[in-house]
């Protein structure tokens, strides 16, 4: 009942055009009133505390890095290189996006931060090359959610602690399915671009490629610095975002001399505004999550699972459905904290490998980040690229379907995840 009320109000609000952030607050307020705990304190505290998060600082930092790269000459040089290498292929920039997503996923632990970085750097290039906006946004968002699956990953740590699962094992187990998500994107993208009318260039000559490589040297050094810095423990993934921003500012102002104080100021203002929009929405989602938790809606769902413990695959399938539907309306963090501990006893009783379950949960809840109505990664991409929600949803759905198919494969054949994990752990 409470679930229906919450979802009904949320969807109604969004469909009549109330901004998503305020639709979330509306559904939270209605649920509060229904539970007889209507209070401004809940709204204010959950919102402010939802925003007060150090790891999410990576968002404005990556936004700065992306904006500086776009306006300071780095991005242009990367596009030149990418198109000299992949320009003769249809949809070449799309493959650049996917490759970069997987690379970034190995560095950063936050899908929202990754999506901000990816879309602020790559969307302008795709738009310039006449890629359809909605499809580009969809691909960028889908690439962003590989981050929580490939280590390092804040959500995997979260589920390790909340569900008492080895984080080291979760990290190892996330690697293969994360890479498979990248492969799935390549397949879907190559099918999609077949129908699109995208510009294809003559293959570049060896000399052109070498020049492009030389020109992009400093831009290519950025991922090297970031990977090296994180792997050798010079900085944390959150700090890496600030290093990226400082590096981009340094290269474009001191080396390329394509950035002025004026344009730096404008970058800071734009990054602040985008941060405000995206993070306010995150805060409102936290208000809704707080009220949903107090209403004990997830517990109502889990109670229904008891009879399924004799059939682990069916149980897993049903749990995955629940996680998917919860993920449609709730952010990744809260759904892990609330659902994972509830599922753990059932998982153990059914004899399902906890590490496998943890990875599956995170993949699934990450997909929730790109599904409407509440998809924080989708929101970030929309915010950064100024693509409308509707367009982005249309653009993202083929990727969501493909990810769900992959998830179904993992449910049917758990060994696809478990065997590589055992091989890697030794």
């Amino acid at each position: 009942m409470t679930l229906v009320l919450f979802l009904g109000v949320l969807l109604l609000g969004i469909l009549i055009g109330i901004p998503v952030a305020f639709s979330l607050l509306l559904s939270a307020m209605v649920l509060m009133a229904y539970l007889d705990l209507f209070s401004a304190d809940i709204l204010a505290q959950a919102l402010v505390n939802g925003v007060d998060s150090f790891p999410l600082l990576a968002i404005p930092f990556f936004l700065i890095a992306g904006e500086v790269m776009a306006s300071g000459g780095l991005a242009r040089r990367i596009v030149t290189l990418a198109s000299s290498l992949l320009g003769h292929r249809k949809g070449g920039l799309g493959y650049v996006v996917i490759f970069t997503s997987v690379l970034l996923a190995g560095l950063s632990g936050s899908a929202v931060a990754d999506a901000a970085a990816l879309s602020s750097m790559l969307f302008p290039m795709m738009a310039k090359a006449n890629y359809p906006h909605g499809r580009s946004a969809g691909l960028l968002a889908s690439g962003g959610i590989i981050a929580p699956v490939i280590p390092p990953s804040l959500p995997l740590i979260l589920i390790g602690v909340a569900g008492n699962i080895s984080i080291a094992k979760l990290f190892v187990a996330g690697l293969v399915p994360g890479l498979m998500m990248g492969v799935v994107l390549v397949v879907v993208w190559s099918l999609l671009v077949r129908k699109e009318d995208l510009p294809v260039q003559e293959p570049a000559s060896g000399a052109e490629r070498f020049d492009a490589l030389k020109g992009a040297f400093f831009a290519l050094l950025l991922p090297v610095i970031i990977i090296g810095g994180i792997r050798t423990g010079i900085f944390t993934p959150t700090e890496a975002a600030v290093v990226a921003a400082v590096y981009a500012i340094f290269i474009s102002s001191v080396i390329y001399r394509e950035m002025t104080w004026r344009s730096l100021y404008e970058v800071l203002v734009r990054a602040s505004r985008a941060t405000g929009m995206v993070m306010f929405l995150v805060g409102c989602a936290m208000v809704a999550a707080w009220v949903v938790t107090v209403a004990q809606i997830p517990q109502q769902l889990v109670l229904l699972l008891g009879p399924l413990v004799d059939n682990p695959r069916l149980l897993m399938a049903v749990i995955m459905l629940i996680v998917f539907f919860v993920g449609m309306v709730m952010d990744l963090g809260p759904s892990v904290l609330i659902l994972a501990p509830l599922f753990m006893p059932v998982i153990k009783e059914a004899g399902i490998e906890p590490v496998y379950f943890g990875v599956m949960f995170i993949i699934n809840a990450s997909i929730g980040l790109i599904t409407p109505p509440v998809g924080n990664v989708l929101n970030v991409v929309c915010g950064v690229s100024s693509v409308s929600m509707t367009e982005a949803v249309k653009g993202v759905y083929p990727f969501v379907l493909a990810y769900l198919a992959l998830l179904a494969v993992f449910v049917a054949f758990p060994n696809v995840i478990i065997i590589p994990m055992q091989l890697l752990i030794g």
């Binding site: 055009g17 305020f22 505290q45 290093v243 993070m279």
Partner: protein, 164 residues
């Protein structure tokens, strides 16, 4: 011609932009300096994490108000426009009222926290915890005024339409 009130508003929003840019620059410097100090000089800035979190909350709250002023909060408008075009003005008013109620609650709840936390002093920064809620309270107020203005101008547009 800009009235002096419009000029004031223009200046006001420009200074909000400048404040956000300044805070963001400060966060970059703090977090980056901490990395350099830790790795290069075996030292660090104790307050860097808390201060940058504080700056972050300020930017988000101010940025949310700027976003609202420009009507740029994410929303899905085409469904209503396609299915029930006649009701769109009504929906817009409903939306305004929902926003007004939510930001009033944000204002009220945050102001209470501001008052409750003046004597709650962080050990590492020496700053009261109230500062975390000040921007939420301020932003709630700003968003309330913006929404009121938009709701009233909805009424005047309607008036003008029926006059003509």
């Amino acid at each position: 011609m800009m009235s002096s009130f419009d000029r004031f508003l223009h200046l006001f929003w420009r200074s909000i932009d400048t404040l956000m840019a300044f805070l963001l620059a400060m966060m970059v410097v703090l977090v980056f300096a901490n990395v350099v100090l830790r790795y290069g000089f075996s030292s660090g800035i104790r307050s860097s994490v808390e201060l940058s979190r504080l700056g972050f909350v300020w930017i988000v709250m101010l940025g949310a108000a700027v976003t609202l002023r420009h009507g740029e909060h994410l929303s899905i408008n085409d469904v209503a426009e396609a299915l029930l075009p006649k009701l769109v003005p009504f929906f817009r008013r409903v939306s305004g009222i929902v926003i007004l109620v939510s930001v009033s609650m944000l204002f009220w709840g945050s102001t209470k926290q501001v008052l409750a936390n003046w004597n709650n002093i962080s050990q590492l920064t020496g700053l009261p915890k109230s500062l975390l809620y000040v921007p939420a309270s301020f932003s709630g107020l700003l968003m309330g005024l913006i929404t009121l203005r938009q709701l009233l101008s909805l009424d005047t547009t309607k008036q003008r339409e029926s006059d003509s």
